[in-house]
Symmetry: C2
Subunit: 350 residues, 2 copies
DNA sequence: TGCCGCATTTGGAACGATCCAAGTATGGAG
DNA sequence: CTCCATACTTGGATCGTTCCAAATGCGGCA
């Protein structure tokens, strides 16, 4: 019966070496599975490692080898299920590659973003994946993290212009194509008066989604009424309370392309409160395909973005960059896919 | 105009020291804000730090000082909004305390949990917050992380019995009291035939919730029919497909206490498919108060657990443990609160 | 002038690993 | 018996920081 004795001080290579009468160097070779060590010696050392309960000190090794074994993930909003799934995807790939994820949340504050980046960079991550907070600029980010560490931007672009020697990769969703598909789908259903609802135009993702809508409307020769272009915070509550504005003046829309699912679900609620049944009296589409989208009443037509897969992809892009630091800056646009459900009905008066 | 020149090698204390003609020790003192340095010298050094774009190497400092500046967070399911919010709460407090969060996801696999713990422990975190995967045991966890690092268990207890020298703290939800409150509420509404629906009895949280239900039923002298005690995976889809079993035999229940919100929402769907209107023909309660709970039709009566606050609390408990490693093991039970909404209607035949 | 105290600065040894050049056996060939 | 290749093994320097004991410079005082 082998018992692992509780110890007070941390066991190091030297302890193990002393414990079985070899040098530190030999123990180190054993740890790294070098073929140089005699298998007799190896067995003895491995036994001693187990016996003393040795724990590898990766920080010390990284210091000597001048390597890093971590990747920083900085998110504007972890509580949002979209980013949570994204994070799960990142962590999975990062872990498979033998790295560890350093997490940082900025809560949409660019001030906190600077602080978080500053703190994480001191731990010397091999690279950083950043989903910027609203209003964060390239200069700020550069000041906080320097130009030494590879950065992959996710989801949003940065304000300001970045110096050319900082080559930052980008992974973004095909926002414009997404809303274009949704708008074209509504048009094909017979709708002519289609609103664009929700989001803040300050965010690049919102501008892109609005552009997709505009593109489809113009291609179909349809009118875009200014009072159908409504901004609101990307939350259910705010969307619900903005619903009335859609119907404030004639001509009234028969459908809406919403900034995202949260907004669409809020709009559904607002419609119900006005006695309109979404999916029968009014058509709408979302963006993101969050879990609730398929379970809502009616189920929501939306664009699926596969956040888990996006997380994996982001991590893989960053790993590629680590392998080849001098490769050209890469901007990747991830496809989105229209999922047609019951919320995008034909207009009532067809 | 000051420009930060892009450099190829990492700037160290020695570079800065050489750059302004002082010793490494002095620069180190400046970095740590020691009152020993002359303010003239301090200014010169600070200027040089800025000029060279020096980045503190916390790993090297930690090695020398034998300290740690990270806390590991290991979660069974980051994609679940409950844990995502929890993680956001943990990270906020961990960051405020000057630590950084090391993230690890186990995807409910105890094998991955061992691997993740093994990898994280090599980075020498000051402590670990662990929400165990299903079926994970104390022995496994101990083998993976050793007894040196303080551990706070969250949400679930571990199978097996832990050795007494590993003092592990615990933060759990008051599951039993929660479902007792929900059950008592349904009884007060006039229900007599109440089911317990969903979850796997293998999980400690499910057993505790079931116990709360049993307690309330027995205290009210009500019968518990075995065919009302239904297990299912804690997902909407599985819950929906298990709905029929509730009504397979007489007597049929008029209400159900559900394992969690996901199960409750699934049950709502299942009820609708059978032509029963939840909140009118059948009453039900959930657990967790996820975002959708208040937006569902009808809004769901449930137990709110404040996952963000729980995350903050978990981090604070761990920080306390770090301050006093010899204090007695602490088991904290976080209160939950009943939120009454429309889903818990009185029975139809009262 | 010599000595002391104060304020400030410093060289060198850690921390726990890895790298590297050099060391020790061993056995076979000449 | 010497020499050399092969198969391991090892001491010491090193990564970037902090700690510590000791050094330095300077003004004042006897």
């Amino acid at each position: 019966m082998q018992s692992i004795t509780p110890v007070r001080h941390k066991i190091t290579l030297s302890d193990v070496a002393a414990g079985c009468g070899v040098s530190r160097a030999t123990v180190s070779l054993v740890l790294r599975g070098s073929p140089l060590v005699n298998k007799h010696t190896r067995a003895r050392v491995e036994e001693e490692l187990r016996r003393q309960g040795y724990v590898y000190n990766r920080a010390a090794a990284n210091l000597r080898r001048r390597t890093s074994s971590s990747i920083a993930l900085v998110l504007n909003d972890l509580a949002n299920p979209f980013f949570a799934e994204f994070a799960a995807g990142v962590d999975a790939v990062v872990g498979e590659a033998g790295f560890v994820t350093l997490l940082g949340c900025t809560s949409e504050s660019s001030t906190r973003e600077q602080a978080v980046l500053g703190s994480l960079i001191e731990h010397g991550p091999a690279g950083i994946i950043l989903s910027p907070a609203e209003g964060s600029s390239a200069q700020q980010v550069l000041a906080a993290m320097g130009a030494q560490t590879p950065l992959l931007l996710f989801n949003r672009e940065l304000g300001g212009n970045l110096p050319e020697y900082a080559h930052w990769d980008l992974l973004a969703l095909d926002n414009q194509r997404g809303t274009r598909l949704a708008t074209e789908h509504l048009i094909a259903q017979g709708h002519r008066r289609i609103a664009f609802f929700g989001g803040h135009r300050a965010a690049s993702s919102c501008r892109q989604r609005h552009a997709g809508y505009t593109e489809a409307m113009q291609a179909a020769g349809l009118r875009i009424e200014p009072h159908w272009q409504l901004e609101c915070a990307p939350t259910r509550l705010d969307a619900a309370s903005q619903t009335a504005a859609l119907f404030a003046a004639a001509p009234m829309p028969t459908a809406a392309v919403c900034y995202n699912d949260a907004v669409a679900l809020g709009l559904m609620l607002g419609l119900s409160q006005r006695g309109l049944q979404p999916g029968r009296d009014f058509a709408l589409t979302g963006f993101d395909d969050i879990a609730e989208a398929s379970m809502s009443m009616p189920p929501l037509t939306t664009l699926t973005t596969a956040p888990l897969a996006r997380g994996r992809q982001a991590a893989e892009l960053l790993l590629q960059r680590l392998r080849d630091p001098t490769a050209l800056t890469r901007h990747t646009i991830a496809p989105v896919q229209l999922v047609v459900r019951a919320s995008s009905c034909p207009p009532p008066t067809v």
